[in-house]
Subunit: 149 residues, 3 copies
């Protein structure tokens, strides 16, 4: 988590576009909350013609981004708005600037109902989370350890 689903028209994004976007977005989370890079998962799916309808009409020029997230951890309206604005700025070169319509929404899901490789992700900004970030992978750790908090 975050888990992104990005629905695009066919051939809208090259493999390089997808890798570039996922690198940008990953770095955004690293800069924002020091998130371990491998937490950021983006799934791209091409949508055939006549599969997305907007306001009752087919729209074959539409990019829809659906995000499930646990990283916000704030009710501050300005921070939440800034977060969305940052996402938009990273999407713009591949979406807005290419002439696509688009829409983004995000849902916040319960952090305690989330596992990576079967492991409970360490508490945000905890020493163990820093270890995971440095190793860029999920490592077994002792939840009872004094540095697990």
């Amino acid at each position: 988590m975050p888990y992104w689903e990005v629905f695009t028209p066919e051939n809208a994004l090259s493999d390089g576009d997808k890798e570039g976007l996922s690198e940008c977005i990953t770095q955004m989370y690293v800069d924002w909350v020091e998130l371990p890079r491998f937490y950021v998962v983006m799934r791209f799916q091409e949508v055939p013609e006549s599969a997305i309808y907007v306001g009752g009409k087919p729209n074959n020029n539409f990019v829809r981004v659906v995000i499930d997230d646990i990283t916000l951890r704030t009710d501050d309206p300005e921070l939440r708005s800034l977060y969305l604005a940052t996402i938009e700025s990273h999407l713009a070169p591949l979406v807005k600037d290419q002439g696509y319509d688009w829409e983004v929404h995000l849902d916040e899901t319960p952090r305690d109902l989330w596992r990576i490789r079967g492991l409970i992700p360490p508490a945000p900004l905890s020493p163990f989370e820093k270890l995971w970030a440095q190793a860029n992978q999920a490592l077994p750790y002792d939840l009872a350890s004094p540095v697990a908090e």
Copy 2:
């Protein structure tokens, strides 16, 4: 938003069926809460055989509808139930009456974590939302304007 995902067997719905359903559902939201038509996005996805399992068995006759929504804005149990009943009545001709099994669920997601074309959608029933509805598109507006509320 609302954002609908409709998973069906292959060839269950024609392009005309999809357009007709999306028109009905769009009109439902217009009648219900004067929603701008272009808010209503429906994505249809055909599911191959042996991809949906119900109760441990493959079910190739199944329609699954998954909705993320921000339009309900009420805790009134009767209104919420009426909303679901209205959805069901629009699905029935293409699903129930065609002999498919089906299931629908809806999640309510945070309104403040939603953007269309990078813009914050205006407050419900506000003058700016009416402008968006009339234009049937997202228009830049001044959040500090006295009519933005």
Copy 3:
């Protein structure tokens, strides 16, 4: 509900694997909360190469499980953790033991915004839910009946 989406690499799971997993998971819910078997819907989707990016890099060896659920009904941290651990134990033979990376998250959605065949599912552990479980299908019932609660 629960509604599972399981994204895998192409050819990662045979039809037998999918049926076996869905049987295991269905039985888990039956054992856990006497859930009617047909409540458990799992949708499997194969993801082509260069469609999932993890931490900015393509990962063609990744299984992503996304669950919407209404069955937990508890805030007890130990029960919630046990629930996730049980899910992991059922995934392991097809995922961990095959050398895939994987991640699981679950969202709890509002029970009142859920219909099966247009019907309101009976209250948990109510006599009508037991009837549905025995018949393994959604049956019309009288919400005003004294046994509906």
